[in-house]
Symmetry: C2
Subunit: 206 residues, 2 copies
């Protein structure tokens, strides 16, 4: 008997995306119910939304900007998720976090997820600046990864190059927002698509 | 004993929006389960998205445009909804349809919904041009409304003025897309928000 190995679900996120953060709290448990692993991939909204699609940050849009802020807060209320960051707060600097995660993933994917969770928490619960390399190093250390190893790689530009490669790959896969999921080649954009993603796994696709 | 009268749910749509069409097939039944009426309001994506937010039509965006086309088709497959219109088809002209609906609503809201359903069907199932006034008049007639009365009003510019007023009102209410719902002042954007809207009605809000 040949056991079919199911491919992992691809989960894409930007560390400064509230809905990416919310999705990160649910996706592994959802996938587990259908015997699936999840591969977490950092991407950059500043590249997909602003450079490739040529759009301003959603938060700056009239009408839609205020709606998104309200929507994130009520989601957190409804689902009991810690979410303290005000949208007006400055400091949306995803590069250090994204690079550190891209590096960590090549070292130890399990600890890398722990790092990602720590970075999301730092940003959205503790309202820390994840653009600060010292804060990122603290998160690396708490995730059980070596800060010395990271510093060495960072000095050689490795994390930067890895994130650039990951962002390129996300664009090649049609990823344009956060969160974004790909299940066996099928794309699902947005937190609200998670029930459809689950339905897809349950039924085998439609 | 005073019986509390619940306010109708506000449902906003553009006749050329596939997701507005899909929502129109579900919203009245959803609302009925919670003892609610639904008021249908035509709006214009060309005003909210293009003029107010300054964005190009979503269909023209790299990455997101192709995703939206795929998403609409798979929704129709999954839910057994008739949907024949190809996105590449020319003729997205919502004005005649929107104006006729805005007029019909002032005459007979029940028949106006029948007109809206007929216009959606003409556009998305029969692939007709709802910018054609003769086609719109056929839909008016089939909905049990008077074509003569419509022609008279149209000659005086009434439907045009009514749609303009409705579009202004939609912007005043923060509406920026299709479908869009407002329940007791609470906004829900997008077809995928219908489960959240239902949860809001069920629980009394969060």
């Amino acid at each position: 008997m040949v056991t079919e190995t199911k491919k992992p679900i691809q989960f894409y996120f930007d560390f400064i995306s509230p809905f990416g953060y919310f999705a990160s709290l649910r996706i592994d448990e959802l996938a587990r119910r259908y015997g699936r692993e999840v591969e977490w991939n950092s991407m950059l909204l500043g590249v997909s939304v602003m450079k490739v699609m040529g759009l301003p940050p959603i938060i700056d849009l009239p009408l839609k900007g205020p709606y998104i802020v309200r929507d994130a807060k009520r989601y957190a209320r409804r689902h009991g998720v810690s979410f303290e960051r005000e949208s007006a707060m400055p400091g949306a600097r995803p590069l250090e976090a994204g690079r550190a995660y891209a590096w960590a993933k090549t070292v130890d994917p399990i600890r890398a997820k722990r790092l990602a969770a720590g970075l999301f928490e730092s940003y959205f619960v503790n309202c820390s600046d994840i653009g600060d390399s010292l804060l990122v190093e603290q998160c690396i250390s708490r995730a059980g990864l070596s800060v010395d190893a990271y510093r060495h790689q960072r000095w050689q530009g490795v994390p930067k190059a890895l994130l650039e490669k990951n962002v390129e790959a996300s664009l090649d896969n049609g990823v344009f927002g956060s969160p974004f999921f790909i299940v066996d080649g099928e794309p699902f954009f947005g937190l609200e698509k998670m029930p459809d993603l689950e339905d897809w796994l349950k039924t085998g696709g439609w």
